[in-house]
Symmetry: D2
Subunit: 399 residues, 4 copies
């Protein structure tokens, strides 16, 4: 019977870690709900911004056009892995220590399975010494929680850069910036700054908990108990704010299309597609196509002509190399070097072309559903256990 089980197998040791796990799983559930919400926001935003052109950077420099939806999809993939990792770590919280007693279980016929079930765990944690000493449920959880803070912090670096005065690719609405009355151009994107230090502090707090276990003996010790558990809860507070604040910032921010177009032209970032098209349409070798495109780029930049108006320069370069007229018309040229064509032609799996992106987004939505169902199964088990436990107590009181 339940009361007997609870009574005779009791010890502060297994009870402590059971309670620690029950408290942590509540916080983990909230975190997972917030993280899933962020991914839902990202998918929704990526869908809305499926066709919104942006400049994509490598080495901090403009490199190629893509779409905001494509960029956000890269983040979605990272987050789906991050959440799965936290869920895997959370699974260790489903292993119930009760019945381990002080170390070695009990000489009384306690039913560890039943106790675990009534407390909403999926199963007893097997080895009883491990129940009170292994503490890997702590290290695994905080280790897993660190990574999304690190990864989202990298996105925050992009948002900070994109919203810099000189770059201006991202427009953060007035409601989210600190404005100077005397310098109307100075728009400090304060929430983005807050995201960075909140993510950093959260990551640092995860490390502090994990490293507290370093070089402690593998035996039940206070290093994993009350005060350290308490210190860990700050992680959920600050990282939960990161998840919610980033959702808000991303939902409200928009791309400044004029700035994107200006940088696209000025940095000639579609020029490689000119070369690619020459290979495909004019049957040139890669070497020839590259030479013509490079000459065109050098020329328009020198003369400060936008690439899309550089048809004459292209024809000249083509003729210089091949001693003939290209078959490409002025209209075709303008189309070929447009960011829109660049993006639409990149339709391989994982590319930014609408067909590729639509497919990717539906994949992510399906993966999020699986993650969400996994969370709900946990929540349901806990809810069912509460009902069972209440019923068991009522039965007990009446007996």
């Amino acid at each position: 019977d339940v009361a007997g089980a609870l009574h005779t197998g009791r010890s502060r040791n297994d009870m402590d870690h059971t309670i620690f796990k029950m408290v942590l799983r509540e916080r983990a559930n909230t975190w997972l709900t917030q993280a899933n919400q962020l991914v839902a926001t990202l998918i929704s935003k990526a869908t809305t911004e499926r066709d919104t052109l942006i400049v994509a950077y490598t080495h901090g420099q403009p490199a190629q056009p893509t779409t905001f939806g494509h960029y956000l999809s890269a983040i979605i993939e990272v987050m789906l892995h991050d959440i799965t990792r936290v869920q895997d770590a959370r699974d260790l919280l489903n292993h119930c220590p009760m019945g381990a007693a002080a170390i070695t279980t009990s000489g009384f016929p306690i039913n560890r399975e039943q106790v675990a079930q009534l407390l909403g765990f999926s199963q007893p944690k097997l080895n009883s010494y491990g129940c009170i000493a292994s503490v890997d449920y702590i290290t695994a959880l905080y280790s897993a929680l660190k990574l999304p803070m690190l990864h989202l912090g990298r996105v925050v670096q992009d948002l900070q850069f994109w919203s810099a005065f000189e770059v201006g690719q991202l427009y953060v609405p007035n409601s989210l910036v600190q404005i100077s009355s005397i310098m109307p151009q100075k728009r400090n994107p304060v929430p983005i700054e807050h995201l960075r230090h909140l993510a950093s502090i959260s990551a640092g707090r995860c490390d502090a908990i994990v490293n507290t276990m370093h070089n402690t003996p593998f035996t039940d010790m206070n290093d994993s108990e009350g005060e350290v558990q308490q210190a860990g809860y700050a992680v959920f507070e600050s990282s939960g704010r990161v998840l919610e604040l980033l959702s808000a910032v991303l939902a409200l921010s928009t791309v400044n299309e004029d700035r994107v177009a200006a940088t696209t032209q000025a940095a000639c970032i579609t020029i490689t597609e000119l070369a690619d098209t020459l290979v495909r349409q004019e049957s040139l070798s890669f070497r020839q196509a590259h030479d013509i495109a490079a000459a065109t780029a050098r020329d328009v930049i020198e003369r400060q002509v936008p690439l899309q108006e550089g048809f004459d320069r292209f024809v000249e370069a083509f003729k210089r190399t091949l001693h003939r007229q290209p078959s490409m018309s002025k209209t075709e040229f303008s189309h070929v070097v447009s960011a829109r064509f660049f993006v639409s032609t990149r339709d391989r799996p994982g590319g930014p072309a609408p067909v590729a992106l639509d497919h990717a987004l539906s994949t992510y939505a399906a993966e999020l559903s699986v993650i969400q169902e996994r969370l709900e199964a946990s929540l349901n088990r806990q809810r069912d256990a509460e009902t069972m436990l209440a019923r068991a107590f009522t039965t007990l009181e009446r007996s």
Copy 2:
């Protein structure tokens, strides 16, 4: 065709990360082989030491008897989780970046599926910007590799303590200790010390790699490339040594049964079983049984009598509390307070009694098989890919 796919979708960006992943997966495979071998050693040692009594500690003090097999099983459970976590992280290495090209895939009809397959990956990594920028394959792997170093470092603390001169529970053979010619008692367990700092340095190196990504932009940058990749390889070198050295130390070390028996008696660590038995056999309340056991313990300790010879003290305490003779005989008493009885009566799932431990060990062996099969499936995929690739090149050369 393959050559075209490799050619037209080429870029240093996706090629770099493809190669980084291929190099890392070799190291991860070796690490997993070493880790599986350690678990196999632990299971074998735990089986051999199934019945070997040891003193189990809480708060650094002798607390209860258990068996060496039971202790090692707690470590096995941790390691099984640790390896699974590394395998999950290694799965990100199975996602092939090839075809992402510079950022956005290619306008040429490259076949990302086929390239992935020929290079031994399980699938292409979907989002092409993520292929060159997300770097979570690095953070996830080194983050996962840190935890076993932290966890095994806790075992090492126990081994260090157990092999201390005054404790002596663990005997490390002469081949593994540094001996002083003038102080024959001074046996420095050098490999245990080495395990500690190797594990610490390994964990620190993991942190160094993970934290290098902190506050870098989410775009292709050198922070995740050549030099940082190189720096990471030191993790495999030092943590691989931890896995192999710990296997060797555990395989060769033995429990000093005399010291275990002496501490068991001196610290009265079986006394709670006397109370439990009184509840079960003499139908006492927990309160009464506890009082009698506590009085017995106080008495034998004061008189420096080993607990097993404390029957008279027990009878006196029993009579003082209950004003009657216990039904327990002197022989029964001696049996009840023996470490062997203590252990054998703790037969709940996860307990140290032989039946419980045998069941646990067979569970672990089955789990290790699954882990091993997962590793072998990876190795086979790589091997098959090599064959396919060689064949494809041959076909290409002939065409």
Copy 3:
């Protein structure tokens, strides 16, 4: 005039960092007071325990006798360096950012010297961009605060080991241990455990603050402001508790001389002095003396005779090697191999002999005085500034 200076040079930027420094210096002052108090306790305890023999360990094994006072003196030296380092870091808090205004000082004739003085700083911080951006006053302070937590944590490991049941070199009084009613031998030294995790968490919190600055731009950013400053205050809370709790534990704990004597004999840790004495008194070579001492040690350990009763074994070994009788008498032998003689003969600077230790302790006391005076000079400057500031305001109100 002051008001003008405050008014026309004002900006949130320099005011923020000025206030952060003023808040931090209060906390740093408290911390230094606590740390100085710990060193005073250590010096006082070391003086009391100047002659109390203990076993000193290397590689976790008994190695030589020394005194508790000598051991504590090693800690004192570390702490004196640690405090000096924190004081040096605290000096950066004495550089006043006021007058830097937003970034570049002001076009108004503000008097930075005077403002600094009135706010209790030693001087203005020179470069005005640095005033609001360099944030090295934060990194330097928390970096310095980490080290004593790490170092004291190493002492805590010793205390934990020394108070283990089997070792028992340190007796922690009942008021500081958690006692089991049923296992009277089980004395959990809970404050020692608390010291460990408090020190670890404190060190981790220092890292979290320092690492939050990693890869942030060198410009005024929120990463060093409000919330991060707040998060840092937790370091003072937990590390201050370490300093006070360790003072209390050390003041109240005592050495168990019987256990020390038993281990000294059992581990033969004075045997090297026998060899040294043979070199000095019998004019043997080091090689000969070593051989005789080693043979004596092997013999007494094999026969389980305490070394001090091993005169006959020594004579035999001496004769075996040199074919003559030693001049050393039985009484002399017993004296030579005693821990007391071992210690008293090690009178080189820094050694445990009373004359050496007395000299060291008076050196430390003098160093502590210098440290304490440096702290008091800071406190006095702040107190004087408060008076000046109050007077300046009064003058201002009347004008």
Copy 4:
């Protein structure tokens, strides 16, 4: 005599740490030489760029004009503190462990002072247990070495931003950038990227060494010896490269004055000086001056007029507020809102005006001299010791 001192006080313990310190001090000397060289480069560059205008940022947005020399001076101040901290840490390497023997010094009349002197140390480290166990010479050194890597990494973030295509404030010459043949605008500032990850890895390596000591006992252990020492040397390798590479990058890079002027105008970053001048010259209240300046800024930005051509807008705003004509002429207005005037009027100590900056630079040069002399004193002591030691050996051989 020397030989006797070395012989009779010998032990692997004190010899090991003596050698570790001698090896570390060589590396520290080299590091300090490199760091001093960087500061010399910074002072020289700041002198050259005393009058070169740049845009200064807060919150990642253009905030005020200043000069490159002023910016570099902020870095110089940080570096002077950083180097002093490393020198203070290096001082612990000057305390010689020799004579501590195994733990407790020796019963032989060794002369610790003389041995220390002959080996180039400034003095013996006093407490002999501390000589082999305190290891704070390691933690203090690597802790101090971390901070400049963290601080310079913040400068690197600025350099990366300044050299972004859209910002272009810093011109990194072709010899230091990776150029794309097809995208002539794409100039990847690879050395800046390398600086970031080299600094990060260096910082991480420092942490790895420091944290290896965490929760180790305070007794001579392998955690601070051979392999860990070896691992630490990588810090000097990578951080030394940071110091040299940053010197090279800063020496060769230049400010793009056109881009600075364009951003200065576009972001209206001199507008606060207009308000300040109105207070000083037209005797307006701060409130009135602010309102007029703000209205002017709003107006010119709306009409996309450069601020310097906004005199008419200013007159209008002035009249709207004060119902009179300003006394400021068009020429005066243009002067007042120029970046050059903004900078020249900020001549408070620590400001960017030439007089203030010249004074600051001469202060830094004097501080660097002190630092350099301190290093040279160390080098001379080592050199003298080598001579003395050689002489002592010669004397010994002849005797």
